[in-house]
Subunit: 264 residues, 2 copies
Amino acid sequence: MGLKVCSFNVNSIRARKELILKWLQEKEKNIDILCLQEVKVQEELFPYKDFEEIGYKAVVYSQKAYNGVAVLLRRNIDHIIKGIGDEYFDQQKRVLSVKTGDLWIINVYAPHGDLRGEDKYYYKLDWYRRFSQFLKDNFSPEEKIIMVGDFNVAIEDKDVWNPELLKDSIGTMPEEREAFRNILNWGFVDCFRYLYPDKKQFTWWDYIGGAVWRDEGMRIDYILATKPVVEHLKDIYVDTWTRKRRKPTPSDHAPVIGLFEGIK
Amino acid sequence: MGLKVCSFNVNSIRARKELILKWLQEKEKNIDILCLQEVKVQEELFPYKDFEEIGYKAVVYSQKAYNGVAVLLRRNIDHIIKGIGDEYFDQQKRVLSVKTGDLWIINVYAPHGDLRGEDKYYYKLDWYRRFSQFLKDNFSPEEKIIMVGDFNVAIEDKDVWNPELLKDSIGTMPEEREAFRNILNWGFVDCFRYLYPDKKQFTWWDYIGGAVWRDEGMRIDYILATKPVVEHLKDIYVDTWTRKRRKPTPSDHAPVIGLFEGIK
DNA sequence: GTTTCAGCAG
DNA sequence: CTGCTGAAAC
């Protein structure tokens, strides 16, 4: 009777629909809240029906070709916030907040970024600043909040397979880490690292060169929780069932799954 | 101990590979000579290996994105002619001739054409003239020749589902029919019509509107044979096993299969 | 309706 | 390496 929450960057809901449905039915039958990133589809074209048939209501905030997030759940939907309240940044559909009971779910797809000095490098840092503001404006660390998603930052060196090789690359730069750290400092706990201080576990592996087979990846997908929720954290793990296959082609990310017990 | 010859416009060997292999192994296990059209792939990228594994040697004459033909066979390859000996027309890879024993196989993908007066309308008629010349230059009607392929012409009104509706459309125009008739008159018999003078049987159905389910098609794929071969013709049929399905997506054409008995 | 490509994004 | 778009071809 725990609460099972999943964050999964699917890299296109259309390309991945069959695999996700199979996974939900054969491997992870009792996920309560499924947060998807990079669904890359117009909202009207989201396959609502397929997920309804297995019991999920879908809240979708998305756009054509890029970005797009969705929260699928088997619980009441009591409030929805689409975007971060910024006309400029909300041109890219990256954040969807859904309240169920007294629990907020914030589903995030942070910008990928680029190398230092490039346009997208600055966009990412600016986005993080604006996103911090959004959190401060709408939530309090005293509330029950589970924030999940692809933050496109590996918070520590132990979260990348080869820190020397990947020093100062996208997702490991100190200024990116600081931007993400600000979010945590506001009042979130990194659930995975909280339970497993030393574990090497990645959530993303490059498609190129079959990196997943040598476990050359990064941990950039997170389940974060405010203090009132962390108390209920029971376990958290990365499920490579979808990722470690060739056909049908998987997402380059694996889902992260958190278990919370005794939460209403 | 007959000879089974197949003509199949696959509309991309890469998109269709799995379906064709499945069909060859589950439905048509004993095809001796398989002629493919519109393989749409660079020769280096043709999946030679997959067909070798089930016993076929592949001779490929193809190009990127458009056109491209291949002859797959389980017999000796004694001579190969690529193209029609014309630098201009051979920019489009449409004709591949393979000799096995004293039997010639000529595999043809004729131009699609366009409505009267358009560039591609003239290209098609010009191509037919040049192709006639190629036949005269290289072969004799006294030889054993099986010529197959997508000729993009429905030779008679009974070869289209609605002759009134499709009058003067691509593939039914009198000048296209005359161009194809010239080929037949040189010394080829239309094997299907020879055995079945009145049968309504199409080989192509438009993807649009699910035409195949209402049998709204055209007969534009043929197996032709010179007199010394027609004597051995036993049967000919269109196999809709691949065409009548939704997944994996089939070609818009169905294969035509001819049976010749007592041929060396 | 389906496939191809280039160009872009990740 | 995989995905999406938009145009062109059929």
